[in-house]
Subunit: 384 residues, 2 copies
Amino acid sequence: MKDKTFLMIPGPTPVPERVLLETAKHPMGHRSSEFSKILEAVYQDLKYVFQTKNDVIVYTASGTGAMDAALSNLINEGDKVLSLVIGNFGSRWAKIAAALGADVDKIEVEAGQAINPEDLRAKLNQDNEKKIKIVTLTQNETSTGVTNDVKTLVKIIREHGALSVVDGVTSLGAMECKPDEWGIDVLISGSQKGFMIPPGLSFLVANERAWEVHKQCKRPDFYFNWTTNRKSVLENSTAFTPNVSLICGLKVALEMMKEEGLENIIKRHTKIAKALRSAIRAIGLKLFVEDDSIASTSITAILPPDGISVPEIRKVLKNDYDIVVANGQNALKDKIFRMGTLGFVSERDAITAIGSLEATMHKLGHKFELGAGVAALIKELNRG
Amino acid sequence: MKDKTFLMIPGPTPVPERVLLETAKHPMGHRSSEFSKILEAVYQDLKYVFQTKNDVIVYTASGTGAMDAALSNLINEGDKVLSLVIGNFGSRWAKIAAALGADVDKIEVEAGQAINPEDLRAKLNQDNEKKIKIVTLTQNETSTGVTNDVKTLVKIIREHGALSVVDGVTSLGAMECKPDEWGIDVLISGSQKGFMIPPGLSFLVANERAWEVHKQCKRPDFYFNWTTNRKSVLENSTAFTPNVSLICGLKVALEMMKEEGLENIIKRHTKIAKALRSAIRAIGLKLFVEDDSIASTSITAILPPDGISVPEIRKVLKNDYDIVVANGQNALKDKIFRMGTLGFVSERDAITAIGSLEATMHKLGHKFELGAGVAALIKELNRG
């Protein structure tokens, strides 16, 4: 049906009506005192969601812009960077570092796996001369639905002495992430994810260690420059004309997040993703990430059964039930489909998704006990 | 009054209701076929507004992002860049070039003046060894309301052989700009200006000469990389998650621009700005740019009369008439105020603005014949 589309992709994620209406207002002047007050509230509330006392820079750019902003403010030509790659977005860190002239080494694992902390420890132990300056990693790999144990990995990186630069694009607001407590040096995220607003903004927070390294950066990018951008944050302003509409929407979304409470938000994501996994298994489908301990709370990747293709499943889900799920990326295209449960997603949405997936698989001739998915979902959602 | 604000700043500019409503829709998936069709139309229509046969890249970033994108895809460390500076935005080009390690020289004129083509010719004639690789310039200087004769300047640059890189942020859709015909090598613009949508997108078009230079660029920025971004344009896609909402709004805005016709849009801007200048003089106020031949058709800078301050004028205009005009920037702060007539601005808006300015100046005790401004405006608007 027209106008019935329900996005269950890893982003853009669903946007609450009150946020959409806020973004539809006529943009105000970005140098006005009214807008400055909005920025003040946004900068304050971002610290809450980022669980940090440090300033959070807001870029008018997508998540990749913030990734670029992270590395282009730290790297000088020839610097040694170690990238922990568990999928496309981990790989993107390595590409950005290489584009900046870094000497990039990688620990790369098969798609669907997480980084083994002992592999990282071994790798860093080999670096006797402490040449590795930065280690990049991904908290939640959007392309596979795998979550790295960032807390442990960052601890190991800190012991070595390198800076940790973490992609929190699809993890912030969906799983625990405590940069100050864990010692993450740079953390970035994007708007169209756990923040429940459309794409177009991204965020970056750096701690004092990272700022010290930034001071030695010879050619920080102009648009993404940390120093000029943070100066504006401290003045409740922005360095350049920001996306005024999205920032007004973000203010409302952050108020909703504060009202629900970060802990409750993370519990909701965890519960829904766990129940979804249980339901997928009950339908007789295989999870791409079988190990529950590394499974994402925001993205679930699913394998199609023999004889039924990913495009068929996506097509029926979309045409008959107006649900959009994502295909796999690159080598995983048509091998998996991915269901996002990130941001403004409720238990009802999970019921809708699993019910519709049952209907879809039934239509496509997959053999399973009809209703088993919804039953498993409800049971898991109501477990104590 | 609440919700009555009328922006007459150089940007964000007024946004048509149908565009705002379009941006308020739930964002669609950026990898969907529906969105690809929207991008196809947008890329096509941008060529019309840019008057070019070359591909126009759309960045999710503000105008400064596109400026960064222009130079960071061309400059190698040590390259010679000549920046033509007639105000803050001309100066920004020089800063970006310097941040990229270029050896930057400038031709700088007093605020309120344009570049004299003969000064440029003389400067370039001195460069016997053709060391200057890039000349940056601004078509319309937002900080002063001065328009450079880009057609003539670019011709001189082409004779020398350097690349011309032009800021069209507040000129596109307000005054003639023909990159292909005039030989502009790189041209950028921003969304919240003549394009009648909120801030958050910017645009870049480069010709074959510029692409050849780009190929020699050792470290193009990753997010702004021309090659990866254009590849996506050719596939009716984007390299990274774009601001889906703004692109949907842009599609509608571009349809409105096509319907009115670029020539008519430029005539409208020219007529309104000319009439506004006539009205300002009739009120007994001085124009910051007295020379009509270099006066902007999108931004008009006005001097306050003796004994009345810029903050007073801005305050009454805002509090009593809900009209926001811009202050001067940097050294011009409180010396001038700037009225934008860019984008979705009609004759009625000019009447509103001048009528309200009369009321404001009357309240503040400025002596002039009440009604003279509106009379001059109407006469000029109706001149054959």
